[in-house]
Symmetry: C2
Subunit: 341 residues, 2 copies
């Protein structure tokens, strides 16, 4: 495994801050207009914080092949605007009330405005890419980037539909689960980095390698998210503990637990998951205990690490112009697997 | 006024059928995928019918400047997919239960799936334009068409936000109303025809003229829609009568009526509009009677006719290659102002 020094991590974190600041500034520039309440609702989750992980990897993948940072940031903003749109709509669908430590958009502005704010963010994602194409003076590459974003828009919607379908079923296989998280989460990581590389003019072979890195890191990221959805700390996460249990989600943890617990314990876990919002804190805690007992946490941690390893292979098979950008991308990947929120 | 013969109208209607059939076939090709329930929900309103007015004007505006029909149809499908997305989301926001004679998407599949089906249709609108750009082998024009669609995506969201805001206010001016319907409805007519002309390679001056035609026809179309929202017949419309009164909408009819009725009658009208879903059929009927009495219907019919006249001037100032396409476009415009649904 390529070593990631403390110094590299700290350089990566500094760079992440810089990219986040530039991205936010461009996103807020795009999100000014009338009527005010619609734009306020659209900006809400952006102003509430967030990791800006996707713009960071967009910029770094772009830099690997010579894309100027300013263009990478604008492309990254497109992905982040798109990501924010999915959060706003998903929160309505999942009835989530808190996100990033603040009330979700539909809780604060009502459902109609939240639907519309999401729709606006979606359009603004395209507007950001159009700006990139115009700034780059290269409509062919702009067109290719837009095609890539559109692919993920379709794929992410399919992934969310699978996720909602899984909530109604008990017979979800690990294979189905992995396909779902590929579509729901990894596809947008793929798009982030592919757009960066595409806009830089990287050739197809390099783009495939970057895409392979992105796919694997995206899946690892989601598995880690699932772990945090059960075992994460409320204060650090900015959303209630046990949120995935409360929603009855068939995450990799639950799927593993159901297969490895005794029949009696598996039934108990199913019963609690079926309660959804009606589950008491004590029941949620018990469900987490059963999941822990089944070995699902270690299993998921190990699975995520496997994906990170595959990601590493793909990344270090590339031939970038900017080696530092690649190392920083690798630092992001290792950081992702160790994060606490 | 350029005369529209019965023969021209009948040729236009035949051509409309042909374009609708081709458009539907391309839309349904794009709307096949997994999971099935998501795609079924996305196809629902398309299969329920609809006028396909936007694809028709896209194809005709394209033909005016030499765009092959097949490309015009695909571009028209993009606009129709986008339009369908706005219908699905608007129906959720407006709590409309019927559309095109069938239950709305959220009534049939639930709100979460309806939100997602709308999101998917949105993405598919872009996918359609990407296909056009690829088929035309011209990424510059494809990029320009995508930019135009994105402009309307932002504008239509702003228009819907204004519309929702107006529901909460009594002091909406006619100027505000016209700005709102420009954004909510005319903007997409503009985009339909501008995309057609852009893809055909029309020059800027011609595009401006076509856009002027589209803006005016779009506003006329919406005013007519408002008239039908109060005075239309349920069986013909495919949605309940008085639907705009039931939603308390500040349409041009209501704005005119409030200004021209006696204070007592205006208060009565306001009271009924404020009841929303709680209004009885008798109250809805009374509100329509007050609106009629105020002269709002004639006023709106006349205003719509004014916009049609301006549209005519813009259209016949163009220099198209295909004169028949222009006449057919004009037949569409006159048909729009006389329609009963």
């Amino acid at each position: 495994m390529h070593e990631v020094s403390g110094d590299l991590i700290s350089r990566m974190l500094d760079y992440a801050k810089k990219v986040a600041k530039m991205t936010d500034s461009f996103m807020l520039e795009l999100l000014s207009g009338e009527p005010q309440y619609l734009y306020d609702a659209s900006k809400h989750l952006i102003l509430a914080g967030g990791k800006r992980l996707r713009p960071l990897v967009t910029v770094l993948a772009g830099r690997m092949y010579g894309l100027p940072e300013e263009l990478g940031v604008k492309a990254g903003a497109a992905v982040e605007l798109f990501h924010t749109f999915t959060l706003v709509h998903d929160d309505i669908m999942d009835r989530d009330e808190m996100r990033r430590g603040v009330p979700t958009v539909h809780v604060k502005w009502g459902e109609s405005t939240a639907i519309l704010a999401g729709d606006l963010l979606y359009a603004k994602a395209y507007e950001a890419l159009i700006r990139v194409g115009e700034d780059a003076g290269d409509y062919d590459r702009g067109f290719a980037a837009i095609k890539q974003l559109t692919w993920s828009a379709v794929t992410v919607a399919e992934g969310q539909a699978l996720d909602m379908d899984f909530e109604r079923r008990w017979d979800v296989s690990v294979g189905e689960y992995l396909k779902m998280i590929y579509k729901k989460t990894a596809a947008l990581f793929r798009t982030s980095m592919v757009i960066g590389a595409l806009l830089a003019g990287a050739d197809e072979e390099e783009i495939e390698k970057i895409a392979g890195f992105a796919d694997n890191i995206g899946i690892a990221f989601q598995i880690k998210d699932d772990i945090l959805g059960v075992f994460g700390e409320e204060k650090i996460l900015g959303k209630p503990v046990y949120s995935d249990i409360r929603e009855g989600k068939k995450t990799i943890l639950v799927l593993h637990a159901l297969q490895h617990l005794s029949e009696k314990e598996a039934e108990e876990l199913k019963r609690i998951l079926g309660l959804k919002e009606k589950a008491t804190y004590e029941e949620l805690r018990r469900a987490a205990e059963l999941i822990e007992k089944s070995g699902a946490r270690e299993y998921a941690e190990k699975l995520a690490a496997d994906y990170v390893r595959r990601a590493e292979e793909a990344l270090y098979s590339t031939s970038p112009k900017d080696l530092e950008a690649r190392d920083l991308l690798w630092a992001v990947a290792t950081y992702v697997i160790q994060r606490r929120k």
